[in-house]
């Protein structure tokens, strides 16, 4: 979906480029020629021409010249480097768009330049989300770098716009990645703790984000369950008591607290109600277990949830 939006933005930018070429044709002949070449996808020729414009005494200080320069690099990026995370063309495009903005004191080209910067920003956001789905433990820096670029360019593209929603989604995505890494290596609790820390950032960015609280609860509860699963014939009675104390802290002070927050935000969500039932069962809160069992039955009867397949 993100890529189709990028294509739409790109199309709009392209439409905006050419009406201006006629207006500015006489004042900025070199830039105008570069824009035409770009439209014809003669990128090398367009670059050569815009370099001439950037060296020209009259054209070099015009924001439109830098806008076209950025546009050409952006088109090259789209044509050749969309799958290259460290695309030089995208860097060059963004630098030129920023220069155009800084020169455009009368805001003649600001709207279209910001739109192009939004394209650049969205491409970094897409990269950031994709990177969160594939990094190995400790390898989130690339995703974070891409996300930082997204924020930087969104700041220019839409000054003052809150990015809270994106902060939340990005951090949840990092949290999910660490959760999956932990699932493939459950003996490494540092992965679970990382997952929790990213979900916690998401929950701080948006205190109404149900998934963030729910997932913090689940990771903590799972940590306890995995410890319990290790209990066996070789477990000493002293270890059994110590394990229980650790697990009680995870379940009572962390899982339950966060699942309660999720429940307050959405008391009709089946996975949350079910989660609370299991958490209370682990704590032997019999009345609460019965309450949430009835809630599950009610939600099933009202057709609001279906029980997971066994």
């Amino acid at each position: 979906m993100g890529n189709s939006i990028i294509r739409i933005i790109s199309g709009i930018c392209l439409l905006l480029l050419f009406p201006l070429t006629t207006v500015l044709a006489q004042q900025l002949p070199l830039t105008n020629e570069a824009a035409k070449l770009c439209q014809e996808k003669q990128f090398e020729a367009a670059l050569k021409k815009i370099d001439e414009a950037k060296a020209d005494e009259i054209e070099k200080d015009n924001p439109y010249t830098w806008y076209v320069d950025g546009f050409i690099h952006k088109e090259i990026y789209k044509a050749r480097e969309m799958n290259i995370r460290n695309s030089r063309e995208r860097e060059l495009a963004s630098e030129s768009f920023l220069k155009s903005l800084s020169l455009d004191k009368q805001n003649q080209h600001t709207a279209m330049t910001r739109l192009s910067l939004k394209f650049i920003a969205s491409s970094y956001y897409n990269d950031a989300l994709l990177q969160t789905r594939e990094f190995a433990a400790g390898g989130e820096k690339e995703a974070e770098d891409s996300y930082a670029k997204f924020k930087k360019f969104m700041h220019y593209a839409e000054p003052g716009t809150s990015l809270k929603k994106f902060d939340t989604e990005f951090n949840k995505s990092l949290g999910q990645r660490y959760f999956l890494l932990w699932q493939s290596n459950i003996s490494d609790n540092s992965l679970a703790e990382k997952s929790i820390s990213f979900y916690a950032v998401a929950s701080r960015a948006d205190s109404t984000d149900i998934d963030a609280f729910y997932n913090i609860a689940v990771v903590n509860y799972n940590m306890a369950v995995f410890k319990y699963r290790d209990i066996g014939p070789d477990t000493d009675i002293f270890d059994l008591i110590v394990i229980q104390q650790e697990c009680a802290d995870l379940i009572k002070n962390k899982a339950l607290v966060n699942m309660d927050k999720a429940y307050k935000l959405d008391p009709e969500r089946g996975d949350i109600v079910r989660g609370l039932m299991f958490i209370h069962r682990a704590l032997e809160h019999e009345n609460d277990v019965e309450y949430f069992k009835h809630e599950i039955e009610r939600l099933v009867n009202e057709g609001k949830i279906t029980l997971p397949d066994k």
């Binding site: 939006i5 709009i12 939004k118 969205s122 956001y125 994106f166 990771v219 066996g232 009675i237 059994l240």
Partner: protein
């Protein structure tokens, strides 16, 4: 800013937040049953039964809790208790003394059966384990209690000794007073 751009930006913002973030799934393990099963195994291993019960199998009967039975059988069922092999049995009804069990676990859901079981097994070296408040006064030997989210146990040393079951040091050490 022209109107079409506003519409477009809204579409753009919506699209950016459309990433699919799956909620994690909570496991269904009955953790309380896991702990109780382990305690039953600890009780079997760390208490001492009279010599005449050390022949044949070591019998642990579970009344009223299938999860404890399942975990006990699958995790501990192949482990020996001293020189005896462990046999875990699920009871559908309150047992009578025609069969001997080293341990009977009576779940709270079968609370009403305790007086009968206590009476049936009062002359046997059968450790009766329960999980509700006041069970020791009703004749249980060991009773599970929840203390701040952890399962601990209380015991009646006298009741155990009357049945010729000697509580082990570890059991006495970790029992709550």
């Amino acid at each position: 800013m022209p109107k079409p751009l506003n519409c477009f930006i809204l579409l753009f913002l919506l699209s950016l937040s459309s990433g699919v973030l799956r909620s994690q799934v909570i496991p269904e393990d009955n953790t309380v049953a896991m702990i109780r099963a382990n305690y039953l195994y600890q009780f079997a291993n760390n208490n001492n039964w009279p010599l005449d019960t050390k022949k044949g199998k070591f019998y642990v009967a579970i009344l009223g809790n299938m999860d404890v039975f399942d975990i006990m059988s699958s995790r501990y069922g192949t482990k020996p208790i001293g020189s005896q092999s462990l046999d875990v049995i699920f009871l559908k009804e309150a047992p009578n003394s025609s069969a001997y069990y080293h341990i009977i676990y009576v779940d709270k859901s079968r609370k009403a059966d305790l007086p009968k079981i206590v009476k049936e097994f009062k002359d046997k070296s059968t450790l009766i384990v329960t999980n509700w408040d006041g069970a020791l006064a009703q004749g249980a030997d060991i009773n599970f209690r929840n203390v701040d989210g952890s399962i601990r146990f209380e015991l009646s040393k006298t009741a155990m000794e009357n049945k010729k079951i000697t509580p082990g040091i570890k059991i006495l050490q970790w029992a709550i007073q």
